[in-house]
């Protein structure tokens, strides 16, 4: 039986962002059904469905909700729409084409957690999506899906959209909360966890857009349908993104548990590589989760998975568990980016390292200094002045930053270290070959280039400071 798309069912439908179209297709019946249940029954249902968070970490949503203190007076729901993980765009597709699905999910989650105010933290760059979502929200308010006494159930829920200012770190739940409170988006130390003390020091639930969008379908189609999708520990539909030189880059929906090879070569998905090239590497879960070797490498003997050997790893099943066997941090956002055979891994490494050097918030020392150091090393290697010991150094820095997830305030250093370490370890032979092929002349040129690169990183204030000598302060 072919899989029927649910999350993306309105993609391509004309006028799909309007309430009329959404309602015509059974929209908000899930919410109506939810409002007739007790909140605790809903939490139980989501727990049974084992709905794991789609934001990256895969934490079970029902469990998260059950951490809320029983005697709470106020609960906030924050919707994490700060989709900044490269190269991820599934939330954007969802909001672009079906904002009401998200709003219905918010209503259901809000009711289940007895939330009175929900905030949608929308990525700053999502200007168009903001207008789409705001229009949809206005429509939903007008139709009585938000506000006071929703659908006659006596439940009140207010919902606001807040736009971020373009920081990756604000997609981390406590960074998001801080930013929502109007502060610098620096993740908070935990405990206390947001479920106990989050937004405005009140119990708070933070859920991803896609997680919430799953809820209406779980309610309308039932637990059985849900549990029929996916693999052992990863249930339900999932939106996969694929980008890079494939024939059909884009966002596709599939039950959890397709393989990476299917995602690239499947006719329903990526449709194979452009020009018949081979895959050298693929980052299957957003950059932070690490890298897999592509089919440029020989197939592994049947039944073996050994990330230490140079085997083709495209058979990795993209669910929450199997990825770990391939030395990946997790499923992440399930957004794959494909690196073709003719790309230079040194360029890939520079791009990866640059992103985290830019986006590290600067609180924890490892992450603040380590990300930039890795970027500088990667720059130098690309400039043709690499040393063999740089490879070991990169591995050491990344192990120190994220050897054991959870040693820093947030997960960013783990996410920054993982792709660098896996790239260096899995493609070590290529790096070694590139270093061996370096022309001696290049090594002399690198200083200037690297230094310029370090200063290319944008700053808001201060670098060309006019304060030296005190332009604003004149000594008496």
């Amino acid at each position: 039986m072919p899989f029927e798309r649910v999350l993306m069912k309105h993609v391509g439908v004309p006028n799909s962002t309007s309430l009329a179209v959404y309602q015509a297709d059974g929209g908000y019946t899930g919410a109506a059904r939810a409002l007739r249940m007790k909140p605790d029954e809903l939490v139980e249902l989501v727990k049974q469905a084992n709905l794991r968070g789609r934001g990256g970490a895969g934490f079970p949503a029902g469990l998260k909700w059950s951490f809320l203190p029983k005697d709470r007076k106020i609960t906030y729901l924050c919707v994490n729409a700060d989709e900044s993980e490269p190269p991820t765009f599934c939330n954007r597709v969802l909001i672009d084409h079906d904002p009401h699905m998200l709003l219905e999910g918010i209503l259901i989650a809000g009711y289940a957690t007895r939330t009175t105010v929900a905030y949608i933290y929308l990525r700053g760059e999502f200007m168009e999506q903001f207008h789409v979502l705001q229009r949809a929200l206005d429509e939903a308010y007008a139709a009585g899906y938000f506000g006071r006494n929703i659908l006659g159930s006596g439940y009140d829920l207010e919902c606001y959209i807040h736009r971020g200012a373009g920081a990756y770190i604000c997609g981390e739940e406590t960074g998001l909360i801080e930013s929502l409170e109007g502060k610098r988006g620096w993740p908070r130390i935990k405990p206390p966890f947001p479920a106990v003390e989050g937004l405005f020091r009140q119990p708070t639930v933070v859920n991803n857009v896609e997680t919430l969008a799953c809820l209406p379908h779980l309610l309308t189609r039932g637990l059985e349908w849900w549990l029929g999708l996916g693999t052992a520990n990863s249930k339900g539909p999932k939106m996969y993104c694929i980008s890079g030189p494939v024939n059909r880059p884009g966002c596709y929906e599939a039950p959890l548990g397709i393989t990476c090879r299917e995602l690239i070569y499947g006719d329903d998905f990526g449709g194979g590589m452009r020009g018949g090239k081979k895959v050298k590497a693929v980052f299957p879960g957003g950059l932070s989760m690490g890298v897999l070797r592509g089919d440029l490498f020989p197939r592994a003997p049947a039944g073996t998975i050994d990330p230490r050997q140079d085997y083709d790893e495209l058979d990795c099943v993209l669910d929450f568990d199997d990825v770990r066997k391939y030395d990946l941090l997790g499923l992440g956002t399930a957004a794959a980016v494909v690196v073709p055979e003719d790309a230079d891994m040194r360029d890939v490494l520079v791009n990866v390292a640059r992103f985290y050097a830019l986006e590290s918030c600067g609180q924890c020392t490892h992450c603040r200094e380590g990300t930039t150091w890795m970027y500088k090393i990667a720059q130098r290697m690309r400039a043709g002045a690499g040393r063999l010991l740089d490879l070991d150094l990169l591995v050491e820095i990344s192990q120190n930053m994220g050897m054991m997830p959870g040693m820093s305030i947030c997960g960013l250093p783990d996410g920054a270290a993982w792709p660098v370490r896996t790239a260096v370890q899995k493609f070590r032979r290529e790096f070694e070959r590139r270093i061996a092929e370096q022309e001696p002349e290049a090594a002399r040129r690198w200083t200037r280039e690297v230094n310029r690169a370090a200063y290319e990183l944008p700053v808001l204030q201060g670098r060309e400071t006019t304060y030296v000598g005190g332009t604003f302060y004149q000594p008496p």
Binding site: A167, T365, W373, Y455
Partner: protein
Amino acid sequence: MPKIIIDGREIECRAGIPVLQAALEAGLAVPHYCYHPGLSIVASCRLCLMEMKLPHPQTRELVWAPKLFPSCQTPVQDGMEVRFDSAAVRDNQKHVMEYYLLNHPLDCPVCDKAGECYLQDYTEAHGPGSSRMVEDKQKNPKKDIGPHTLLYQDRCVLCSRCVRFCDEIAGTGELAVVNRGSRGEIDVFPGRPLDNPLQGNVVDLCPVGALLDKDFLFKQRVWLLRSTKSVSPADSGGQTIWIDSNEQGIHRIRPRYNERVNEWWISDEARFGWKYVHRPDRLNRPQVREAGTMRPARWEELPTLLRSRFAEMTPGASLAEGALGPSPDTALKGRGIAAVLSPMMSCEEAWLLARFVRDVAPQATLVLGHVPVVGEDQTFPKGFTIKAEKCPNRRGVETILRHLGGHTADFRTFLGQAVERRFDAAYIVGGYPDVWVTPDVADALAKVEFLVVHDLFPSRLNERAAVQIPGATWAEREGTFMNCDGLLQPFERAIVPPEGVKSDGQFVYELAGRSGLFHARKVRDEMAAEMPQFAEVFVPRELPKHAH
């Protein structure tokens, strides 16, 4: 009291404190930057990470958890076991120290902080010997962030202590971290320099050489400085301080931890208010008026002179109304004599002088000197208060006057009486850093025939004084101050008085007819026999260097 095990050693500690604080109090030199007991916890420097025993997920048996935990963020729990003495912890410290020095300019030879810099100390103790970064360092400019403070951004470790201080303690929030990641830097907002009454504390708080005091910049290497325990005379709160001096010169003043008054902080008044000690125009020799002109006097002749002149003074002769008239009643002897005890004096000095005057003239009037008050008490968010009363010992002098009883007056009444020519002789003690002899004070005192002026600086009283005695500043004396809440705190002598000046305590000791050296401690013991308030002094707990 919970008991925890650190490195196999059982330690009893206060409930609710972080493990790091417990370790520091137990004497363990755990490296840390961002943690400060007076500020909120951010757990960002990642230098204090420790290993902790947790129940195994399956067997529930206590085992060392595979990751490291920030000890500043983990509260102590009874029976918990942690360790800092392990390979993983040391490895982390080594890496973090290497990160700190990646972009550091290593300019210790010209850095003011060298010698008391925790970047130096920790690198020495925990860091690697060299850096493996071959790329160029990021350079960051020096910034002028306010009237008193410079920021050397490239030395900064971004512990954000200064930012939190301005937000939480001063409540002014001038500082912020701008930019992300390794480009992050501390900065002020355009047009709003760091300028609040507590701002100097950010320099002490800074564990490295990033924030520096313009006043102290390039003045001294810190290892040449001698630190003396003292109490600030800047206000009546009794902020405890360290006076850092070298070769009889004060170079800076730092806060001294005091759990009952100022905690870790001091006001800028206390910090920068010492400049008058080294003013060149200080009085530096005693003078006596003879036939209308002042002649230099020897210190040795003064006690006899003063004692005999005061004793000679007979009451009534010059009283305007003549109401009392000459009387054989010895009880009235000395009615026309007054001693003005300055609230800048220490308790011991005030007591000795008061006793001397009452000894010579039992009916003498004792006066609490001018109490300078500026504005109102200024209280900051976490409770730090700058007192409006700008003298250290009003309460101590008052206590002594109350104890001695008899004729006492406040300064205004005294001036009024002086105008009425009720006093033949008066001993005036000043010692204020600022001008305190206003024209009306001078005019009133001009009516006193025999005026003894014991002060720091020349004033309008110069031409009226019969005897002029140079005083010493608090840094050149020892004794105790009683703060406005009645807390008695001792201070020690940091430097010797300028040449020609005798410290006030020694002089009044000799004036009181005693021989030998003045020891505040001995005098205080005498006082305590009469006044229980002086039986006990409060000396705050001294913080070890590793608990910064």
